[in-house]
């Protein structure tokens, strides 16, 4: 009773030190900037805060941001899964180059992506002119925003699904096949459950990223208030008018949204890992 149990010795040394460094870095890079958001926002009274974040222009920017981000991430979930599947399951010339290209959206300055996508999709651009003929405008519409966000989000899904897909034991498919399951049935009943956690993780990361994407979107969006104005752009606009309190208020709303998304993701992940690891 008098003495606690002896501290357990750990296999990997330096736990205290590495934890200390981790916490310090996390606070410097993440927590302190986030706190400053709250501090700045608190300059406003609560009613001012509410009226700022619910003004009609801001409300429609939420809608633009969320709807385009959601659609883009859904497209990415499907497309990314397909790309990952092709990269893992098939051998073809140029496979390695294609594999390397997946990361381009990460490496490219987002403004460059935005400008080139805009060029392509204006009514004079290569792609835009084709779609113009059937009456669809891409640049300066929400479709354009979605296109930019799809471009930005691809690597998230591919890179989270790919390693999981690689690790799936081919015996699962053989077992299902031996019992007469079609490839389609096997995919949906056996393989998809295996990769679903990774797919959800990729989807949420892409979604969270799309919500905050600024650089590539501002060029292609056209930024018409109430129609193609995304929330990050509104924050930028407030900052340029030195209205820090309003800017941080809107930013705070986005922050809460991002936390919610990541939280839902974490809940889903822990549910599936319970099934696999058997921890009740």
């Amino acid at each position: 009773m008098k003495r606690k149990q002896k501290k357990k010795t750990r296999v990997i040394p330096g736990f205290g030190l590495s934890l200390g460094v981790t916490v310090t870095i996390l606070s410097l890079v993440v927590v302190i900037p986030l706190c400053s958001l709250v501090v700045f926002t608190s300059q406003l009274s609560f009613s001012d805060f509410l009226s700022t974040v619910t003004s009609s222009r801001v409300m429609s920017s939420y809608w633009v941001s969320f709807s385009t981000a959601l659609v883009a991430s859904l497209i990415n979930a499907g497309m990314g899964l397909m790309i990952a599947w092709v990269l893992v399951r098939y051998d073809f010339p140029g496979k390695r180059i294609m594999d390397g290209m997946i990361e381009i959206p990460f490496a490219l300055p987002t403004a460059v992506a935005g400008i080139s996508l805009t060029h392509l999709t204006t009514t004079n651009g290569w792609v835009g002119s084709l779609f113009d003929k059937i009456g669809i405008q891409i640049a300066y519409t929400r479709i354009g925003i979605t296109v930019a966000l799809v471009f930005i989000g691809i690597p998230f899904v591919v890179r989270s699904v790919q390693p999981v897909l690689e690790k799936i034991d081919p015996q699962y498919e053989e077992a299902a096949g031996m019992m007469g399951a079609t490839r389609c049935y096997t995919f949906f009943r056996v393989i998809l459950p295996e990769i679903l956690p990774a797919l959800i993780a990729g989807f949420t990361m892409a979604f969270a990223r799309c919500l905050g994407e600024y650089g590539s979107v501002v060029f292609i969006a056209g930024n018409t208030p109430y129609k193609t104005e995304i929330t990050p752009l509104l924050i930028m606009a407030q900052l340029q008018e030195y209205d820090y309190a309003s800017a941080t208020s809107i930013a705070l709303v986005m922050l809460i949204a991002a936390f919610l998304i990541l939280f839902i993701n974490a809940v889903l992940q822990s549910r599936t890992s319970k099934i696999v690891s058997g921890i009740e």
């Binding site: 034991d169 015996q171 299902a176 096949g177 031996m178 019992m179 007469g180 099934i275 696999v276 058997g278």
Partner: protein, 359 residues
């Protein structure tokens, strides 16, 4: 008269790239038998099983099941249940769903699926666990689920790849007996792969021994054990010690010229403690006890001969124990001799009757 086989492989050859994995595989299995496919790791056992199942295709040869050549019939229509080495249970499905998988795929009506799954779970003794996930089961329970899943769609032939490899030694013994009982209850023709000779000998009705992609010998466990026909089997089966100098062993000088290699097994040996009456005093060889190990009904001794060869021999527990370092006398009833192609037993001259002979 040609024997009627239920499963047959004829002249099967299989290559992986340049590597000849199987070479002229020929065997037949009677209906209802439990066959052990025994061989060292990498000898092609799994490949034989996978070709039978249709998961792999052979370059040449025929696979015949129930009188029908099934070479071009897809795996799912060969009426085969397959238990994979690591079971390949679907991790995101409950035990019930795992066992029901094959039935659902084959569009059994719902009520019959439930009935059949419950019947299978009762058979393998897993009632009450149908809602568990595979991760919440022990190794032995997982194997039972895999077994139930393979059997649920009523296959005609059951293939099991190293069914006990992933299970710890204690439970393995019990599971072996369980599996043997279960298979004879169901009455299904079965082939199981193992690299453990004890397991094959204990469980199988008949053993097929593979080595480097070829079949070495086929036969009942007792025949394989008593009369190995190839040098490989002679060395592989039993607790064998190789003899360097056969002519040193009294009683075998007459055959020493014809014997290139020979092995000796514990059951061929009698060990006499100093002072114990010796039946054939002219044919005993002195030795020194190096090590002893208590094995229950017998005590196992490692005994070193004058030329350095170490033999394993047993003495029943009720005989006087031997101390390490003790001088003993050994009598060998027989040897197992072999040359490049064949293996044959050689009797001690004292026992070989009037006219000593070499087979």
């Amino acid at each position: 008269m040609e024997q009627q086989y239920y499963v047959e492989m004829r002249d099967i050859n299989k290559q992986f790239g340049d590597f000849q994995a199987l070479e002229q595989i020929n065997f037949g299995i009677e209906k209802g038998k439990l066959i052990g496919l025994l061989g060292p790791s990498g000898s092609g056992k799994t490949t034989i099983l996978r070709i039978l199942a249709g998961l792999e295709t052979a370059e040449t040869g025929d696979i015949i099941i129930n009188g029908q050549v099934v070479n071009d019939i897809p795996a799912s229509q060969r009426g085969i249940g397959f238990v994979f080495q690591n079971y390949a249970l679907f991790r995101y499905m409950t035990v019930f769903e795992n066992v029901a998988f094959g039935l659902r795929v084959q569009k059994w009506p719902k009520s019959r699926v439930k009935e059949r799954v419950n019947e299978m779970l009762r058979l393998v003794g897993l009632e009450g666990l149908e809602k568990r996930y595979p991760s919440q089961l022990s190794g032995g329970q997982r194997q039972r689920v895999a077994f139930a899943r393979a059997l649920a769609p009523e296959p005609q032939l059951l293939l099991l790849d190293e069914p006990f490899a992933a299970i710890d030694a204690k439970v393995r013994q019990e599971l072996r007996r369980w599996l043997k009982g279960m298979i004879s209850t169901v009455g299904i023709t079965s082939i199981f792969v193992t690299h453990d000779q004890e397991e094959a000998i204990e469980v199988a009705d008949e053993i097929i021994i593979t080595n480097q992609g070829r079949i070495e010998q086929i036969g009942k466990p007792v025949d394989i054990y008593r009369n190995p026909t190839t040098p490989f089997v002679a060395r592989f089966i039993g607790d064998s010690a190789e003899l360097e100098n056969v002519h040193l062993f009294p009683g075998f000088e007459y055959a020493a010229d014809q014997i290139k290699h020979a092995i000796i097994r514990p059951e061929y040996l009698t060990v006499y403690k100093k002072g114990e009456p010796v039946e054939y005093p002219n044919s005993v060889e002195p030795g020194v006890v190096v090590q002893s190990a208590f094995r229950g009904t017998v005590t196992e001794y490692q005994i070193r001969l004058s030329d350095g060869t170490i033999l394993t021999a047993n003495r029943l527990v009720d005989t006087a124990p031997l101390a390490e370092g003790e001088q003993v006398q050994i009598f060998a009833r027989r040897l197992l001799a072999f040359d490049e192609e064949r293996a044959f037993p050689v009797e001690n001259i004292c026992l070989a009757g009037v006219r000593p002979y070499v087979i």
